[in-house]
Symmetry: D2
Subunit: 187 residues, 4 copies
């Protein structure tokens, strides 16, 4: 059972969410991780050029996408990666894989959900199954998901600080995905 985590992070906040997702996934026996942080040097004139990363992700049973919310959607750096997957799209090579996403932003409700909506559209284009967060804020919420979005992990990070509960949400998300892979016979 192999879980890929691909993300962009400028300030290490999104990185900390990626690590929390991985921590959660590793609580499930049999989970292997492939992790990659997109960096600017992989981008040539607006195009993502590290195809080896895409090949590695193709070997995963689930892929979790992560990006800070910049101006209402994923960062341009993440989008270069998304655009570079278009060849795989033609053949629907990621069909049937599980997908999920995480993001953060510096306002309480500053279009982070728009980022997650984009990631869902992207995952559906690849024929993937989207898994969000089954924690209803204020009711059955396990003490996580303080923000109340169920599309994925949505963090609020004013002043460049990550909140403990947002990390707990990401960890829960990683565990949920790994458990789902087990149910789908990937373990």
């Amino acid at each position: 059972m192999r879980l890929g985590v691909i993300y962009f992070s400028k300030t290490d906040i999104t990185e900390s969410l990626a690590n929390a997702v991985i921590d959660g996934a590793l609580t499930v026996a049999g989970t292997e991780i492939y992790k990659h942080r997109i960096v600017g040097s992989e981008i040539e004139q607006g195009r993502y050029a590290n195809n080896a990363v895409i090949d590695e992700l193709s070997q995963c049973d689930a892929i979790v996408f992560g990006s800070p919310t910049y101006m209402g959607s994923v960062s341009a750096q993440f989008k270069t990666f998304a655009d570079a997957t278009s060849e795989l799209w033609c053949d629907q090579k990621w069909s049937g894989k599980l997908a999920a996403g995480f993001t953060c932003g510096s306002a309480l409700n500053g279009d982070q959900s728009s980022t997650l909506q984009y990631l869902i559209t992207f995952a559906c284009q690849h024929g993937m199954l989207w898994m969000g967060i089954d924690a209803a804020p204020g009711y059955r919420d396990f003490g996580i998901n303080r923000m109340g979005c169920q599309l994925g992990t949505l963090a609020y990070c004013p002043d460049g600080q990550i909140h403990e509960i947002d990390l707990a949400t990401a960890k829960y998300q990683g565990k949920r995905i790994a458990e789902q892979l087990n149910k789908m016979g990937k373990a």
Copy 2:
């Protein structure tokens, strides 16, 4: 393995999509169907009042949601049903179920995808997994999905006519969902 199909249809076009989804699902051995068409008489002052339908859906392993696109989203009639599920939401009783959607509209690109986006948000609120269509238009497309949307079945129905290929897309969708339930050990 039990598949629920819940939809509103005024002119029988969405009904024909519902039937095609069911036809596809029944090609997979072991599939049982629960089907319900939302009707105006179930709605009292803007509130959906047929709770028995919601109870039946709670017994399903997957639920497919269908509505024509009216003024940029699901019809109000469908929305009364969606709003009535809020009690289930508190307890996340539909967590882990598979979800999918279908819609139709009288323009080529007349916000049908906005309807499917809404259904995804709704399904994620319930902790469900969303499954779209893994058919890349113009490439690996099996001769279906002429419209090119992969969020779900998206039909274009000018003059009140349903297109053969849109029905084929819905049938493919039903089969895909039933096969996925098998993989998830629900058969």
Copy 3:
């Protein structure tokens, strides 16, 4: 210069936002208000039946739409109203009018922005111009827009309470719309 405010409110929270929008608009000389609260008794079997309301709105230069966020979008009651405007849509009778929206929800980031996105789609279908909130949270924000969404007024109302700053955001919004009508020669 005539401003219409049309909204659904079950618990008076959305009502209080409507009143704040109106308060703001009335600070601009020459503003007349048409206000209507959608009620369940206007809805017959899922269809909005009070056409006089739609006629009144057609006489306005700007229309502000309001609804609580229910299960990820506008309430079904509001949607019955939206669906009932489809005849006006055919003739684009609201073309060129100014549009804006407000919503509230019981979670910090519980899909309120999905409601505003829907209202934007709805307004664009009518050929209207959409005006959001020009207050950048944490920077140029006038002490309003604590939630950080700029699509419209987005309130967070846990425990059935409305926050002072959310009311201030709605008031600012009403004033902004009325001032814009002046600029467009409607005063």
Copy 4:
């Protein structure tokens, strides 16, 4: 009255839409145009580096954004530009300007509207007013808007060809924006 058109185009299709928007705007007396095509050489490690373009746009009364739809949203190249406007955002320097958008894609309903939705979110973040297309497909449509989306100009370009009616829609859009600037006293 100054209209800015900023866009990315790889194959000249989006370029042809940009030109059509400009043709339409120039039918209105007093219109000046600023036009810029984003190119890869302006992007350094995923960041847009041509600040002079952003300064020019700040001198415009309206800005029209254009991008092909790549993997469900604006191209990464366009997104580098969007991200680079974040400093202006802090001060809401584009507040009150008119905004509009155009896109194209190779499928009938292949998430082009998701691109326009993003552009709306982006424009609202900047405090701009969004203007779509007031042409109801099949009814009052002036022979344009064959695709039926009213968020902006949405083109369908299979085989790398642009359709005459999509160009006509873009031209109508440009004219509509210029006329609106007149109404707002910018002429």
